[in-house]
């Protein structure tokens, strides 16, 4: 989904001279063609995330639509105050793009994980938070952020994720996608971990359970209208993020505000990650792969 998103932004930027792209020294083999085509509109800020984000804010003040780009934790927590003060407080047209959501960087280790970013970013004022499910949602996210002004955080997985959607979609602000029509019980997932959640749901449906899969490209704003439906009994949220403060927490807050009677179960990473392993191993270890989710959800149904 990373390449799909970048290719779409690249394509749009060729026609929109206001788009600038600032990377935090990341992009080998991924951004090369865009860099060549955008010329001076592309800039490597170096290993300097505060500078990258502050400069993007300045560019937006001077009329540009500026992207920042780096690995999970770096364009977000490493420079959280520049995101908070410079970008969000001034409501500027800056698109913060991270790659390697959750534990995608695997054996690179915890320093390269994005497991607190949703909690941090979704509390900031004026910001929208987008986590695409698959390359189709990522491509739609690129179009969405290029068409809309204001601060946005786009949290991408890595590369080579399969498509879950069957055809092209367009994002609507704060809207989820239902993949199976109406169900009493739904698994709502944000980001590329939805691949596992969808597989778990498909198995359960094959066994005759009434359960549907919903992807949530928007963590903020959250789809309040969707959650405010009387027929929904049980919701299972799935995310590649710490359990506290992330997508499941956002759904929990919304359900509470709606005074809804939905029974919510949140699947997320535990408070501590103390093993070194690749992404698939970690997700399996924490019960967040298709098999683990299938077993847990089956039990809860």
């Amino acid at each position: 989904m990373r390449n799909t998103f970048i290719n779409e932004v690249h394509k749009i930027a060729l026609a929109n001279e206001d788009i600038c792209f600032v990377t935090g020294d990341l992009g080998f083999g991924v951004l090369n063609q865009m860099r060549e085509d955008l010329g001076d509109r592309f800039r490597n800020a170096g290993v300097a995330e505060q500078l990258m984000t502050g400069m993007a804010a300045g560019m937006a003040i001077a009329g540009k639509k500026a992207f920042t780009y780096s690995i999970a934790n770096f364009p977000t927590l490493r420079c959280i105050e520049q995101v908070r003060n410079d970008v969000c407080y001034h409501n500027l047209d800056v698109k913060i793009v991270s790659v390697g959501a959750g534990v995608a960087y695997g054996t690179h280790g915890y320093t390269h994980f994005g497991v607190e970013d949703l909690a941090m970013m979704r509390t900031l004022q004026n910001i929208e938070v987008i986590c695409p499910l698959d390359p189709i949602e990522a491509e739609a996210a690129a179009r969405y952020v290029c068409q809309n002004s204001g601060p946005t955080y786009v949290r991408l997985g890595k590369n080579k994720e399969p498509n879950i959607h069957k055809s092209k979609v367009e994002l609507k602000r704060g809207k989820f996608f239902e993949h199976h029509g109406k169900s009493e019980n739904v698994v709502i997932s944000t980001g590329s971990i939805g691949l596992h959640a969808k597989e778990a749901v498909d198995r359960l449906r094959d066994e005759g359970y009434d359960v549907g899969f919903v992807s949530a490209p928007f963590v903020r704003p959250i789809d309040s209208e969707y959650l405010n439906q009387d027929h929904i009994q049980k919701v299972f949220t799935v995310e590649e993020h710490f359990r506290r403060g992330g997508f499941g927490s956002a759904v929990l807050e919304e359900i509470n505000d709606l005074k809804s009677s939905i029974a919510l179960t949140r699947f997320a990473l535990p408070d501590t990650i103390d093993i070194i392993a690749g992404q698939n191993y970690l997700l399996s270890h924490f019960g967040l792969d298709a098999k683990g989710l299938y077993e847990s959800i089956k039990q809860a149904l």
């Binding site: 804010a57 560019m59 003040i61």
Partner: protein, 269 residues
């Protein structure tokens, strides 16, 4: 508009009144940079109520946001914000906050207060201006203590590489920071050398001598390849004898009697 000396004097008086009336802090840091602000806004910068929203206006970013009263008073004397705003400075529901806060159509470009933010923002504006081939000036004012922030060094290292000759950084080197004398925390006596070796057009001046300030601004205006930095040697609390070179007037607020003495001294200077 009045002559430069009267302009600067009135900014000092307005600032003293604002801080005293509101019970706010930071009068010392305001007074140290007012001569620089006065020179910038008197006739150097291309900014007026007519071009406030034009991208080719000159930009000034007050990175030392705690000097807000000084820049608000400057903008008011320039006619960019109503003088009545100054009377409510730092009051409940005021239009002007204790750390400079963005407000449309006032000439305040960005909110600051957390230090180390102004330079990267100014660099982004300067870079975009270069991309669009505008000839405007992008200026940011930093405190000396603020130069300890790592984000500034990210910018100090990168600005020459980016060829931002339209960028001017002014350091208000008033020798005091929040809890100590600046040079006792980090010795900045060799600041000019550090910037020269990093590829900047760096000059050091007396930040209260308006001729030196004007010459330095002209030097920046004529620079065609490097970013410029002016290290302005200033006196914390400048213009009010009992405030000068003291740490306490970073925080204290003059009472009515002290205010009268201060204004009298500024008037007679």
């Amino acid at each position: 508009m009045s002559d430069l000396k009267t302009f600067v004097k009135q900014i000092r008086i307005d600032t003293l009144n604002m801080v005293s009336k509101s019970g706010a802090s930071h009068i010392g840091t305001c007074l140290s940079c007012i001569d620089v602000l006065g020179c910038l806004y008197y006739d150097f910068m291309n900014i007026s109520s007519e071009n406030l929203n034009d991208l080719d206006r000159d930009f000034f970013i007050m990175s030392k946001g705690h000097g807000s009263a000084a820049i608000y008073a400057t903008l008011a004397n320039k006619g960019l914000i109503p003088k009545s705003y100054l009377d409510e400075y730092c009051c409940d529901n005021a239009k002007l906050a204790g750390h400079i806060t963005y407000k449309e159509n006032t000439g305040v470009e960005v909110s600051s207060g957390s230090l180390g933010h102004g330079l990267p923002i100014a660099m982004g504006i300067a870079y975009a201006s270069k991309l669009d081939k505008r000839e405007n000036k992008i200026i940011t004012l930093l405190s000396d203590g603020e130069c300890q922030e790592g984000s500034n060094w990210e910018g100090f290292l990168m600005a020459p590489q980016m060829g931002l000759s339209n960028l001017l950084v002014i350091v208000d080197y008033n020798k005091f920071q929040g809890y100590d004398k600046t040079d006792e925390v980090v010795d900045f006596n060799n600041l000019q050398d550090r910037f020269l070796s990093a590829g900047w057009n760096a000059i050091e001046i007396d930040g209260h001598n308006t001729e030196q300030i004007s010459d330095a601004l002209l030097n920046y205006k004529n620079e065609k390849s490097k970013p410029s930095i002016i290290i302005a040697n200033t006196i914390k609390g400048k213009g009010v004898g009992y405030m000068e070179n003291t740490l306490e007037w970073h925080y204290k607020c003059p009472n009515e009697e002290q205010l009268a003495i201060a204004i009298e001294e500024v008037r007679n200077s």
